[in-house]
Amino acid sequence: MATDAKRRVRLVYFAWVREKVGLPSEDVELPEDVTTVETLIGWLKQRGPGYSDAFARPQVVRAALDKVHVKPATPLGAVREIAFFPPVTGG
């Protein structure tokens, strides 16, 4: 990444989060004040009705940073890929 001010990350969505957002993935530039999973969700909710629907109950949306499960308060750090998805239902 060129600078810290313009952080380019890949967002990926699964299951009903993907269906509500309407995209499987997208590349975005994060504003400076988006520093945690929680603040990223807050920012995403402003981006349109699909996003606000997907994150209407943020406590049921799970997140992973570079493919590792994380809690909402986790700082984004130098992450490259952020995933949002419902609780898992495999097995």
Partner: protein
């Protein structure tokens, strides 16, 4: 130890032989096969679509398996999870554990399934016979089952 995500079905005997065939240090082999049920909490289910997070799935499954290998004296373990379209009666998931004695093999297989159900990034969408579809909701009971291993 192997983990796999695949579209194709699996054969329990063939997977077992590939994993432990010819070994003479194994007294107990436990397999768990999960299948699509034609009815879930009173809803009719014609088919399931299994979606996953490529890359994370394999990493997460390998980490669950490494944890089982560290906690029990296992000679071998295997986890195979299917993705894509499956109909009622089809196989979804296979876990195999092999040990000298049966208690380790049984416990480790239960542990692998409990952790797989709560940590591995798979999602099921059910299709009903009338063509409707809905994402399966996570069960609180699965979290409880996983918590007992802490």
């Amino acid at each position: 130890m192997p983990v796999r995500v695949q579209v194709d079905d699996f054969d329990v005997t063939a997977e077992t032989e590939r994993l432990v065939g010819g070994r003479k240090d194994i007294g107990a082999i436990v397999t768990f096969t999960g299948r699509v049920r034609g009815e879930d909490d009173g809803r009719q289910v014609a088919a399931l679509t299994l979606e996953h997070y490529p890359g994370m799935t394999e990493t997460e499954m390998a980490s669950i398996e490494a944890e089982a290998m560290a906690r029990w004296p296992l000679q071998a373990a295997l986890m195979v999870h299917r993705v894509g379209e499956m109909k009622a009666g089809d196989n979804i998931v296979l876990v195999i554990t092999a040990s000298a004695h049966r208690s380790a093999a049984f416990e480790a297989a239960e542990f692998l399934m409990d952790y797989l159900k709560t940590r591995a990034p798979f999602w099921k969408k059910e299709t009903t016979p009338d063509g409707g579809s809905a994402w399966v909701e996570a069960r609180a009971g699965d979290e409880d089952a996983a918590d007992r291993w802490r």
